[in-house]
Symmetry: C2
Subunit: 351 residues, 2 copies
């Protein structure tokens, strides 16, 4: 029943995003959304942009947004690329930088979209096992690779690498692109942006979905040398000239402009994370040290699947993977303090 399908997609297994429930109201801790609303200026900017101007194409270069991001991060606009969510930016990276004879490398436990991109674009890859404690064995990422892809902090573990190790990765793979996926970086991890001046092969990918509470707006970006950004533009302009609509450009720009709100928001999330991690540990959970807006935790006496199902029955959604090494873990997004209290009581009842 796959008549007319191209050969390349017949055996493909697409990515499965976390459930977006309809109907019943859950405490939704399964897709790492931010529990707080976007900055007030975002909504205002979108409402202003929602007018007659919608009949006109958006700026394909996203000039104003790129300029704002460049100023914010202390780079030039030619070093900034924006896309329709960081998932799109990552997909374009596969086409722009990867796919030669040598395999690219990424960890065995990581964002589960990576192998899917590789299958779609025909990129060979090799996974490198994380250590037992889920830390990244950096030395194993150095060598004759076709490219490197690494989230920092990693997902779904939440563990972060120090800047020094990111530098080793870039230096140890000097002739290929090293892509650091910083989707969760704003929750306490050092950014590789500080290393861009030293490594022309280093690309930092980011999203506004998490720390800027804009998952519903679909805005991601990449920052690196102008040469790497030109490659992304080449792919983008061979695929879809206008990936960001007028409203997304306007809203994202307004978010960048409200620094105070951004800082307050991420501090709140980090404080709730610390409080929740401590409570989970008190209940006997092993909790990975997290620099992200989620916690990765397992319990010695209860399987991951059992807790997933039990929580769902009690109206709390978290995420679980039926996958070697981590099938006993739950990934729990950090919500508000009140939401985490619901989670913690539900877990207390289940244990």
């Amino acid at each position: 029943m796959k008549e007319f399908w191209s050969e390349r997609i017949r055996d493909m297994v697409p990515y499965t995003p976390g459930e977006q429930p309809r109907g019943r109201t859950f405490v939704k801790l399964n897709t790492n959304e931010n529990p707080y609303p976007p900055a007030p200026g975002v909504v205002e900017a979108i409402r202003d942009a929602a007018g007659e101007g919608l009949r006109l194409y958006p700026d394909p270069e996203c000039t104003a947004l790129r300029q704002a991001l460049a100023a914010y991060h202390g780079v030039t606009p030619e070093q900034v690329f924006v896309g329709n969510g960081s998932d799109e930016v990552l997909a374009l990276c596969f086409q722009a930088f990867f796919g030669g004879e040598r395999a690219i490398v990424f960890p065995d436990i990581t964002y589960s979209f990576y192998p899917v991109y590789a299958a779609l674009y025909g990129v060979t890859y090799r996974v490198i096992p994380l250590r037992e404690d889920f830390t990244v064995p950096v030395e194993q990422f150095l060598g004759d690779n076709g490219g490197v892809l690494l989230p920092n902090p990693n997902a779904p573990t939440g563990r972060a690498l120090p800047l020094e190790d990111i530098g080793r990765l870039a230096q140890g793979n000097p002739d290929v692109a090293v892509v650091i996926d910083e989707a969760y970086v704003d929750f306490g991890c050092e950014s590789a942006l500080a290393l861009l001046d030293r490594y022309p092969n280093l690309l930092v990918v980011r999203t506004m979905s998490k720390s800027r509470s804009l998952a519903g707006l679909r805005v991601g970006c990449a920052i690196g040398s102008a040469n790497l950004i030109a490659a992304l533009n080449c792919v983008k302009n061979s695929f879809n000239s206008y990936t960001l609509d007028r409203l997304a450009q306007a809203g994202a720009l307004a978010s960048v402009e409200d620094e105070a709100y951004f800082q307050e928001n991420r501090q709140k999330v980090m404080a709730t994370r610390a409080r929740t991690a401590a409570a989970l540990e008190q209940m006997g959970f092993t909790v990975c040290p997290s620099q992200a807006n989620f916690l990765f935790a397992s319990h010695p006496d209860h399987s991951g699947k059992e807790l997933l199902d039990g929580l769902r029955e009690k109206g709390v959604l978290v995420r679980w993977w039926n996958q070697p090494r981590i099938s006993n873990y739950l990934r729990i997004s950090v919500g508000t303090d009140a939401e985490m209290d619901v989670l913690l009581s539900a877990l207390r009842e289940l244990l």
Copy 2:
């Protein structure tokens, strides 16, 4: 200076969209935008959707929008795919249906993005010359092709094929996908949707950019058998699970719901097109019979480039291609009556 670029993109020449001018105000007849605003309900729906909900991911299935489009076109939701503009939908078609050993076919004069997609996704193609009068020689599209891609009406000529010929295309290429790009269909051309029941290999691609005045919102769709739509979903979910943000989904849905506004809008454009075509012919232009929201015209005494530059100096943007067979033609989008009057006076001065 293409260090780190993947082999596949080093020689690629991206698509060049029509200019989106900044600064000076032009009468903008170069990118086939609709001169009238979107339906009033669109703006209202977007303003309603622009709130705290932006912190949450959008519905990756775009359920409400797909249901509305299905009801509107008399098909099931499983027969509808939506994407981030029809450019994205077309790009996904290349991956979903094309790329085997046999070349796909499209006309020599057509949407200039097609060969760019083919280069990006490694799809071999063969162009089939239009007849001297820019009509499509359907018989030459029948045979051992790897797929068929045809805009109806064609761009930039504006000429349309009757339904019967689309049927011949689908029937004459029974084992591959036949993709009809109906970006401009609402301006007077028969839609191939009427043939879907008979041809499981027929896919209709559409956009809300033109006839629904939503170029700035980036919404396109594909309609066909559930099997073809499943292939598009397989590619989409291997590339970017959430291609339509919350605002685009809400705005597009509201547009579908205002049928009266839609009908009035397209009638106005068609009336202005007829009036403008007549005036151009009176000035000595040869004007292609157009079923689209643009006119394709050439003058015996003045080159296309000369008129393009002259019009620009007078503040009117139109589109021109430095390409064999059509380098003496201008493509002129249909604006308001007042805008077309500016165009016509400018041309009168130039001739």
